[in-house]
């Protein structure tokens, strides 16, 4: 069982790579080096800030876009193209298929992020000419970004299991935007009353809470991140992804394939 998931995951990774996904790293590298060089020449006392902010934001945004664009097709494309027929006629459970796809996509993003991290540290070294202890915080930010990716992947997969790629993209992207303002949504909900308040609170808790994962601004100012937050964010990402994947499994399990 576990090996089948592994095989599906590595095949998903292979598909992404052959889909030339990793070429995005070129765009990323260009962006970051351009910024680093530009900022290094102007020398405006905040080079480090710019590199960290820009670099990490780019890692986050590039990754979210990749996660959504690959994720939304993971299931729907296979149903559309009927490549699933010969896969499911083998001893592969439907839920293994979903989980395998998830790990494949997540793995792709982790590898992508790894290369981007090298780029960020490279650019950082270029502008600061040395590393300080506080730079280790960048790893925390990257870890949180990866947790974000896990959530987005699971959501994209959830939508892919029942919706067309276009709709899935719209849903996933909307949830990403709303999720970035989840704390504000909860504040709104607190101020509302009655039924609409309840609904708003429900929605506010259902929506993925990305704002807690965004520590880019604070670590750029070398503010430490609480260990508690790291732990709780990790658990939150784990449970949220499980929730979305369970939903995907439930939906996919009952689907008649066309």
């Amino acid at each position: 069982m576990r090996t089948r998931i592994g095989y599906i995951a590595s095949n998903t990774f292979r598909e992404a790579v052959r889909d030339r996904v990793l070429y995005n790293l070129i765009a990323f590298a260009l962006l970051l080096s351009g910024a680093a060089i530009l900022v290094g020449q102007i020398s405006i006392e905040i080079e480090k800030l710019v590199v960290i902010n820009l670099g990490l934001t780019a890692v986050s945004l590039f990754g979210v876009v990749i996660a959504i664009f690959i994720g939304i097709g993971l299931v729907s494309k296979e149903i559309e193209k009927r490549t699933l027929y010969t896969v499911l006629s083998r001893p592969v459970r439907r839920w293994e298929f979903i989980v395998g796809k998830f790990f494949g996509l997540a793995g792709t993003l982790v590898v992508n992020t790894f290369f981007m991290a090298i780029g960020v540290f490279g650019a950082l070294f270029y502008v600061s000419h040395k590393f300080v202890r506080a730079d280790a915080l960048i790893f925390v930010a990257l870890y949180f970004i990866i947790l974000e990716f896990l959530i987005i992947c699971s959501l994209a997969l959830l939508f892919s299991s029942f919706s067309s790629p276009l709709l899935s993209a719209v849903f996933a992207f909307s949830l990403f935007v709303i999720g970035s303002f989840a704390e504000d949504l909860r504040n709104f909900a607190k101020m509302a009353h009655g039924v609409s308040g309840l609904l708003a609170t429900g929605a506010a808790y259902l929506v993925p809470n990305f704002s807690a994962f965004n520590v880019i601004t604070s670590i750029a100012h070398e503010q430490p991140v609480a260990g508690q937050l790291i732990l709780q964010n990790s658990l939150y990402a784990l449970f949220y992804a499980t929730m979305a994947l369970s939903g995907a499994v439930l939906i996919f399990e009952r689907r008649d394939l066309k």
Binding site: R93, R94, W95, F181, E183, D184, R186, N187, F188, K190, M191, Y205, L206, N209, S211, A212, T217, S218, A220, H221, A226, Q228, L229, Q232, N233, L235, Y236, F239, Y240, T242, M243, L245, S246, G247, V249, L250, E253, R254
Partner: protein, 307 residues
């Protein structure tokens, strides 16, 4: 079907459990970072940067920052905080994103100027905000009112207050009372009547609950101040006539021909101390009262500290 049912059951359980767990964790995370949404305000010094980062969705961002400002203030106010450093930047950002969000200016005028714990204690910031608001909403007479209010209430600059009310009265469709207020400033600035007029006007013309509540508290305090002043004068007159202090409130009421038992807006009768001071029974109920407070009175601390 058995395998499928088993999978369905396990997946459903996973779904429900993870939903509960993630909601619980979210709750905990929120407590870790109560003012998390304000990170940017701390680190981004200029509203212009935020405006650019909004990618044109200024109106929406203004609403979001407005909510944050209200939450920020409400949260800290509940715990009688002694500082509200982020209120001015938050309101500045909000109004830069949407210069026509009038309620933000009103909020600023009510809560930026007064001293903590009732406000941020930054009257200059309030004036700056109001001038910006007037600049961008020249046809809104209420903003002139709010600005004049700040001059009157916090800075006690009656001349400026009068000028502002006067300016405002020239706005088309301005409420007639602006002209009246301008005149009042000139002659009767320091009187209770004037203050009462202003707070009543604020109460009636605002939609915001917090501002309304604030106005009510001020009106109650004014009542107390006025009552205590009159009663204290009565005590003085009594003293001049009889050469001693009244033994009780009842005696004072009889001797000076006062109507009924004097009571505060909550219905609690005023106290007369042996030293001849008129005091209100429960000072904590009147946070803005300046008279009728026992000597050495300090507002009671909240029993839960701000997390």
């Amino acid at each position: 079907m058995k395998v499928r049912q088993k999978t369905t059951m396990i997946a459903s359980i996973c779904l429900v459990v993870s939903l509960a767990a993630s909601s619980f964790l979210l709750h905990r995370i929120d407590r870790l970072r109560p003012q998390a949404t304000l990170d940017e305000v701390l680190y981004l010094s200029s509203p212009k940067v935020i405006k650019r980062a909004s990618l044109g969705y200024d109106g929406l961002m203004a609403c979001i920052y407005w909510t944050r400002a209200v939450q920020y203030f409400g949260y800290r106010h509940y715990y009688s905080a002694t500082s509200y450093n982020l209120l001015a930047p938050l309101l500045e950002i909000t109004t830069h994103l949407d210069p026509h969000l009038v309620v933000a200016y009103e909020f600023g005028s009510s809560f930026l100027a007064p001293a903590p714990p009732h406000g941020a204690g930054q009257p200059q910031a309030a004036i700056h905000l109001m001038e910006y608001g007037i600049q961008n909403n020249a046809d809104n007479w209420h903003l002139y009112y709010d600005l004049g209010f700040v001059y009157y209430m916090e800075l006690k600059d009656y001349k400026k207050a009068a000028d502002t009310f006067e300016r405002g009265s020239h706005v088309p469709n301005a409420h007639p009372f602006l002209k009246i207020l301008a005149a009042q400033m000139a002659q009767h600035a320091g009187e209770y009547q004037t203050a009462r007029m202003l707070w009543s006007a604020t109460y009636q013309t605002t939609q915001d609950e917090q501002i309304k509540q604030n106005a009510v508290e001020h009106l109650r305090a004014l009542r107390v101040d006025e009552d205590v002043q009159h009663l204290q004068e009565a005590v003085t007159r009594f003293g001049e006539r009889t050469g001693r202090l009244p033994a009780s409130m009842a005696e004072l009421v009889d001797a000076e021909g006062l109507a009924g038992t004097p009571a505060d807006p909550d219905g609690q009768p005023y106290k007369l101390t042996p030293e001849g001071r008129v005091e209100v029974r429960v000072p904590d109920d009147f946070p803005f009262a300046t008279k009728g407070l026992p000597p050495g009175y300090k507002p009671a601390p909240k029993f839960h500290a701000m997390p």
